[in-house]
Amino acid sequence: MKTTKGPESAFAASPVPRRLVPPPQPRASKNRGKARKRITIILFLLPGVILFSLLVLAPILLAMYSSVFKWNGFGLLPTNFVGLDNFTRLLDNEIFLGDLRRGALLIVLSLVVQLPLALAIALLLNQKMRLRALYRLLFFAPYVLSEVIAAVLFSMLLSPERGLANEVLGFLGLGTSSFLSEPDTVMFSLFIVITWKYFGFYVILYLAGRQSIPKELTEAAQIDGCGPWHVFRYVTLPLLGPTIRITIFLSVIGTIQLFDLVYVLTGGGPVHASETLGVTMYDIGFNRFQVGYASAISVVMFLLSLVFAIGYQRFVLKRDLDGATTTMGGGRR
């Protein structure tokens, strides 16, 4: 967790005249000041604590609690305790196991294709070129659209009979594809849509990271005789390390929780071939009312995110904090 420290240098620039000696205060008023401070802290934190406890923490706890019960969801709390039954059932559930495999596939595709592509585009856009602002605006546009809009648009584009994509493939002499309607192709079609929707977000993050690298460093490397590739490999890439690690983090966490896009685009089909943990959980919980069983999936999603987040923060992001406080080269592996 990185936080910015209050700049001490602002002290000198402060336009506010300082009074040297505060007026002496009697003891009673000092105590009153202390009590008043405590009341302020409590009153200011109260709305946030209530909102957060009731609507963020309580649901997570309720999910954990109900995951060890057999429950159809009526009432506020379940009663039929079944231990870890729901979890052992999950281990035999082919759809759930498939969800994990498909999630892993999407994560690999994102890390191998989507993020490097975004990085390349960000570095291109960092150079002086005409219409740069326009491209940036354009690449980021899908990110501000709802997942539902992206999904509906692509379900039309990729429709096997009437879709534009097959027209174009046919026109180029590449044959046609069934895209979303065949188990073999649906995951790759889904990945195209994910890339369309999110890669602009990563471009923006990389661009911000790249622009924070001082020009002197790349120039110094060039003067020392580095070609473009070496500048990238030994200067830009290491200094982008923190940004890259954060995008990997966001991408993995986002994939674990993927729901909207898949639910609208394919509903998890055909024959569960594109289903994700979120879609399986929705189907079991909201359509079949097996709330305890569905909660077990929620808990798995939560644990996957938590274990990944803690492990990643501990072993990967930690280095960034060390590096940030010591030298600029802290990102070097």
């Binding site: 604590v49 648009l153 429709s159 534009l164 929780q257 959980m281 919980g285 929620s298």
Partner: protein, 285 residues
């Protein structure tokens, strides 16, 4: 000297590179644009045209798909619902977070870091994990089919990011400002309300924009909270519409395109806050 000679030698490369660069960027730009343009043009076609001529311009242009959507009260009701919910969410999120961030930034007390870490950990709990128990809790409080049933959870889930961003901004305001205000007789609340908040206007704008965009695009929560069509937001409306008229592609495209306009317009206006907020959120989170 040698640097000079090098530059001159690479003259052909200096022409070729920008061309290659533009080609790559344009190809990706086309990939981004195609679905949107296809939607806009498709909305001006009728279904036989869409089947026979999916690529070209509409001939003739058929505006009925768009005018029908614009004339439907359902569509406007959804625009209204989405706006109401997004603005209320932003208001609640920012108000509650600003109070908490103020305390986290400017007061020292026991357990502060622990409490802050719990809030910050909220970044990892998105709706997908909590949606089912959240539904049960909202039902218990009678908040189903009630806009508060979406506004309050969205605000609660937005607290983490908003508090993180606001806290770091509040911290950057020098202590001397606070001391001067207190010497001049300001209460802590007076300092917060009359001095800190006005100074934090850019940060407040950023977090408000983030809250509005997140709320506007949220689908999962309104999907389960609103059974009643009266409260459907645009994403739910689009999804339901596309299910209902699945055979009528042109109609759906028109609906999707019109539903896209408010988000794109908002993005055009608030681009700087949105991008600033996302990068700040990603690097500080």
């Amino acid at each position: 000297m040698s640097v000079h000679a090098r530059e001159r030698r690479s003259t052909p490369a200096r022409i070729a590179r920008p061309i290659a660069l533009h080609t790559i960027v344009i190809v990706i730009g086309v990939f981004i644009m195609v679905p949107i343009v296809y939607g806009i043009l498709g909305g001006f076609k009728d279904n036989p045209q869409l089947a026979n001529n999916p690529i070209g311009l509409p001939a003739p242009w058929v505006p009925e798909n768009y005018t029908n959507v614009l004339a439907s009260s359902d569509f406007w009701r959804q625009v209204f619902n989405s706006s109401l919910i997004a603005l209320s969410t932003a208001l609640v999120t920012v108000a509650v977070s600003a109070l908490a961030a103020f305390v986290f930034a400017r007061f020292a007390f026991r357990g502060r870091e622990f409490l802050f870490t719990i809030f910050a950990a909220g970044l990892m709990f998105p709706f997908a994990v909590a949606i089912l128990p959240l539904f049960i809790i909202l039902r218990f409080f009678g908040l189903l089919n009630n806009p508060l049933g979406v506004i309050l959870p969205q605000a609660a889930f937005g607290l983490a990011l908003t508090i993180i961003i606001l806290r770091s901004f509040f911290r950057s305001i020098p202590h001397e400002v606070e001391e001067a205000a207190i010497l001049d007789g300001c209460s802590p609340f007076g300092f917060f309300w009359r001095i800190l908040l006005p100074m934090a206007r850019p940060a407040l704008a950023t977090v408000s924009v983030l809250a509005v965009v997140n709320s506007w695009n949220n689908f999962f929560l309104p999907l389960v909270v609103f059974n009643d069509k009266v409260w459907w937001t645009l994403p739910v409306g689009v999804q339901q519409f596309s299910g209902q008229y699945s055979a009528d592609t042109a109609k759906i495209l028109a609906y999707v395109v019109l539903a896209m306009i408010p988000a794109l317009a908002f993005y055009a206006v608030a681009e700087r806050q949105l991008i600033g907020g996302l990068t700040a959120g990603a690097t500080k989170g």
